[in-house]
Symmetry: C2
């Protein structure tokens, strides 16, 4: 079998430790093209840049590996890579991460790491977002190498998953590899981040605010949800879909508008 072509990006920037671990693992499997943001892009979700121009710089090129940095968002990196290298032949896999910090539950909506994987799926590429529930810049990614291999290989070999589905993978923080439990397929925990702005005053006596908050887990005891399983030290895999029309709401909405229009 010919070696697969794997497209790598992240949201923590090309210098982050997580993407270098992911590059090492993917080079064991295939030919790697990596394009990562110039600077950290955490919380950039599915943002794109079209009112400012983008810059790209080559970091490294070898026969089976090339690495670039781009001035834009994670989704810009995906779009740039697809345009630059994959006009005729799509990559066999897109992987994003490994993010320094959890992207479980509702965090998948805010995450640039997940945004990049979603953009891969929109373009019909099997795509995976990898994140570790440890935001430290020097987090230990060693325990997860085998799980990364399993999930990436499964995604390359499969042909039964709908092309519009991509994977949101989270690793629990563990102190040793012995503590890590097996991979579990599950659904996204329902919950919300409750915002708490931290108000401060600058030297010019003008207020400014830091966005902080805490996570309100609506279902802390539901065993097939990702937050719960991460607490049990499982690696979690949530299949996410792009399509977001709520087909069940169509009828209710029809009625609502008809009633109000008729008044």
């Amino acid at each position: 079998m010919k070696r697969p072509i794997i497209f790598i990006t992240n949201d923590d920037g090309y210098q982050a430790k997580g993407i270098h671990v992911l590059i090492e693992e993917m080079r064991k499997i295939g030919t790697v093209v990596a394009i990562a943001p110039r600077v950290g892009q955490s919380g950039m979700s599915h943002a794109i840049t079209f009112k400012d121009p983008l810059r790209v710089r080559t970091l490294e090129t070898a026969p089976d590996f090339s690495f670039y940095e781009c001035s834009g968002t994670p989704v810009d990196c995906v779009k740039m890579g697809l345009d630059k290298f994959f006009k005729t032949l799509k990559p066999d896999l897109l992987v994003s991460g490994i993010n320094h910090g959890s992207n479980a539950s509702i965090c998948s909506i805010y995450s640039g790491t997940v945004g990049a994987a979603r953009e891969g799926a929109i373009n019909g590429i099997p795509s995976i977002a990898f994140s570790l529930t440890d935001a430290h810049h020097d987090a230990d990614f060693e325990p997860y190498r085998s799980h990364i291999q399993t999930i990436a290989c499964a995604m390359i070999e499969q042909n039964s998953l709908n092309t519009n589905v991509f994977l949101n993978v989270n690793f629990p923080k563990v102190d040793s590899i012995g503590e890590l439990q097996e991979i579990r397929i599950c659904r996204q925990t329902k919950g919300v981040w409750i915002e708490e702005f931290d108000k401060r005053t600058d030297p010019q006596n003008i207020d400014y605010f830091w966005l902080t908050g805490h996570f309100d887990n609506y279902e802390p005891e539901v065993p097939d949800s990702d937050e719960y399983l991460l607490k049990q030290k499982h690696t979690t895999v949530v299949p996410l879909k792009i399509e977001s029309t709520d087909m069940e709401a169509l009828g209710v909405l029809q009625e609502m508008i008809a009633t109000t229009s008729g008044k």
Copy 2:
């Protein structure tokens, strides 16, 4: 019945024409609190700002109307407003827009206008994103006032829609109100933006790239999809949901991982 409290934001910034039309319409219905970005935030999707502080400035305050600008993204504006004004009492409605430019089909993923409405829904607030398929800064919003009223009032009065569902409303560009057809409930058209980077060279002889592209509509003739109906000059209303786990994929994925792990 007590007058509803309506939270308004947008992604084109507080000076855009679209938000001022929306403010006028909502003030006919209720008490309005508006918090909009300081500058244009098109394409910011569901991005949040937590590595830089945010600033807020009061633009206007009256008994039934207050207006602020915030240095962050549309979702930051929603979070800021919820924290600042709605800690104990939630607004009855959140409306975002009117966006200068279409947010139909897959654009709903990239849109800051839609991101703000999604954030409202995440917080359990009935939420609507309004967009006009005309990106001109001086676009004519007059023909759509009656449809805005119908949809906003329907959303305030209803109690049967799941709280995790929000509305993505798009108005067709029309030359006169007579050309505008009735409101249609429909689903999001399937399609993809094909990126085409426009490469240029700056005076320092360094390349830079503008993100451009064209929309590839996978189903141009499907009559219950938003792109099709907009071409027929209908106002389109698509119910979108927050939950994006693909429950059908869980079994397939279980099998995939088990097979690969067993090798």
